[in-house]
């Protein structure tokens, strides 16, 4: 396809037949080079346009409207909304005023939720990946079953968990109260303090298969010779796991812990499907908190300011995390 040069004659090619043949060889080369230069950009163009429309432009637009006083009244004519300066930001960070206080509370809830969920998901994923490393009967089946929570649509799984956490009819109270007699009465799981723990359990259930999947892939890259050498030196299975498997998984761990952290911190589905638009105070994750102040209270300016703050926080966390973990790694390698 690249060989089909335009039929137009090159200006520098003379009228004589000999020169024109030389020009004919020269031109495709120039066209080739031009296409070579432009082609990668052309290939990327559709993807770039889509990303621009859905991600990049809205991001900058979001920063813009965070400085506006954009309420329901201005939704259809956003540009007529009055400027608010830093008012939206000030309201969000004033921790002694209702808005700031609620945001800070939501932030702490989200942080505890995220740290617990990521730690547990990582732990389960690592345990499962290591225990399924060697071949045994039923290994393939167990691996497939472990991936089911990952494959299920989030809302279907979340609805099922909501059913299990019902006070009268749920499985959790049936087991805890009726069968094990751990609790003296059937507790409420979807309101009050319990709602936080219910949410953590569900989050771990949904997230750990991803850690498992990524770690399984990571385990395949550890050369078998390492284990053989360790076995020759008399290292037992536990020692091999500690001395070979865990250090080799460091790069994979670095990525999955960060990815899980960001996903869980931004989690919207879990509280939204479990509790609806008004989650209990103890389960007020930041995404749904912002959603509420934007789409329920119809204050887009304030919601955008909170989103920008959230983004800044995540950027700082990511940068610090990458800095710290990468430095630790290079020191270890020496």
């Amino acid at each position: 396809m690249t060989a089909t040069a335009p039929p137009r004659r090159a200006p520098e090619a003379g009228p004589s037949s000999g020169k024109s043949a030389a020009g004919g060889r020269l031109r495709p080369r120039i066209v080739e080079r031009l296409r070579q230069g432009g082609l990668p950009y052309l290939l990327l163009l559709p993807a770039i346009l889509a990303e621009l429309l859905i991600h990049i432009v809205p991001m900058f637009f979001g920063i813009l409207i965070s400085f506006k006083n954009l309420t329901l009244f201005y939704i259809h004519h956003w540009n007529t909304a009055p400027w608010a300066g830093f008012d939206n930001y000030k309201a969000a960070v004033k921790i002694h005023q209702p808005i700031g206080q609620a945001l800070l509370h939501s932030f702490w809830v989200t942080l505890s939720y995220t740290l617990l969920s990521v730690a547990l998901s990582w732990l389960l994923g690592t345990a499962a990946a290591i225990l399924l490393q060697d071949k045994f009967r039923g290994r393939g089946l167990i691996r497939t079953i472990f991936l089911v929570p990952y494959a299920l649509p989030a809302y279907a799984a979340l609805i099922t968990w909501t059913f299990m956490f019902q006070q009268d009819t749920g499985l959790v109270n049936h087991v805890l109260h009726d069968q094990l007699h751990v609790t003296s009465s059937k507790s409420f799981w979807l309101i009050g303090d319990n709602s936080f723990w219910a949410m953590v359990v569900v989050s771990v259930w949904k997230s750990w298969p991803f850690a498992f999947l990524a770690l399984m892939a990571g385990l395949q890259n550890i050369p078998r010779e390492l284990y053989e050498a360790a076995a020759m030196d008399g290292a037992g299975v536990w020692q091999q796991i500690r001395k070979i498997t865990m250090p080799s998984l460091r790069p994979v761990n670095q990525v999955i812990v960060l990815v899980l952290f960001l996903w869980t911190f931004n989690d919207f589905n879990t509280p939204f499907v479990m509790f609806g638009q008004n989650p209990p105070h103890q389960a007020d994750l930041i995404s749904i908190h912002i959603y509420q102040s934007s789409f329920i209270n119809w204050n887009f300016g304030s919601g955008s300011a909170m989103s920008v703050l959230l983004l800044l926080f995540l950027l700082v966390v990511t940068a610090v995390y990458l800095l710290v973990t990468s430095r630790g790694r290079s020191e270890n390698d020496v």
Binding site: Y41, P58, M59, P153, N173, Q220, Y227, V237, V273, Y291
Partner: protein, 289 residues
């Protein structure tokens, strides 16, 4: 890549390891399977059964919930909406990803690194950050041009395709990297252009990666709740939002909710488990780099 995992362990495992393995894996299996069992068994119970205290073994089995789910809410309509939106988003996302991944994998050009990093980082940004401005942009585009994006399937398709795009590009670029360049050079010598080489040589060789990316894109779109809850209306509502309607009535028909959950899960779970091998291989190729 050494596939040592398919060979027996280099040394006999001690009892402590075998017991740990048995206990931990059993507990994990229970943790994973209990909700699945609840879903399945409750979907076969009568309404009376699910309204009483939970029972592990159903009193009697009935398929009635599977018939009723289509009448209680317009489930079929939501199903069609979801299929249209998710299939279109998947097709567009994969095609765009193939082009972009080919560019990233086969060419060295200015801005290559910036592109990869920017695109990948958008994946990590909070969805809520885009939701508000995107909603406003869609509303205002509708006002000024008459192209309805808010509340329409088109708007949702465009949005969803970008959700899976970054990861798809990254995964496919990794996959394309593992296909020898000599192959496309040979195709170019044979008279194919760059695009000819892409479609005649690279794409056929990357089928497992493309399948993996398609499954991933479809799953991402099928399970999305946040944007669907804001950007759809009654006629364009997808399953992710529609399923909540069983629960907003005074009486929650839990047996129907469970039956509907199973029905909407079947396409993705079946697809995922059937193509699991490709997906794991595709993920691995991406992770190995």
């Amino acid at each position: 890549m050494s596939r040592f995992t398919d060979q027996p362990s280099p040394m006999a495992q001690p009892k402590s390891f075998l017991w740990t393995r048995r206990v931990v894996l059993t507990l994990l299996l229970a943790f994973v399977l209990v909700p699945v069992y609840v879903m399945l068994s409750s979907s076969l119970k009568s309404l009376q059964d699910v309204q009483g205290s939970f029972k592990w073994i159903p009193h009697s089995l009935t398929f009635k919930p599977y018939i009723d789910i289509w009448k209680t809410i317009p489930l079929a309509h939501y199903f069609v909406n979801s299929v249209i939106v998710c299939v279109s988003a998947t097709v567009f996302s994969v095609v765009l990803a193939i082009f972009a991944a080919y560019g990233v994998s086969r060419y060295r050009f200015m801005g290559r690194k910036v592109f990869t990093v920017t695109v990948l980082s958008t994946q990590m940004f909070p969805g809520i950050l885009f939701l508000l401005p995107l909603y406003l942009i869609f509303v205002n585009i509708g006002n000024s041009t008459g192209i309805t994006l808010n509340g329409s399937r088109l708007g949702l398709i465009i949005t969803y395709l970008t959700f899976s795009l970054p990861f798809s590009i990254w995964m496919l670029a990794g996959y394309f990297d593992s296909i020898p360049r000599d192959l496309d050079e040979a195709a170019k010598v044979d008279g194919c252009g760059a695009l000819g080489a892409l479609f005649r040589v690279v794409v056929p060789a990357a089928v497992p990666g493309i399948v993996a990316v398609s499954v991933y894109a479809f799953m991402t779109a099928w399970g999305e709740v946040l944007f669907a809850s804001v950007m759809t209306n009654e006629s364009t509502r997808t399953l992710a939002v529609g399923l909540r309607e069983y629960a907003t009535q005074n009486d929650v028909y839990w047996n129907q909710v469970m039956a509907a959950s199973i029905v909407v899960s079947i396409p993705v779970v079946a697809g995922f488990l059937l193509l699991q091998r490709y997906l794991v291989a595709g993920l691995t190729a991406g992770a190995v780099k």
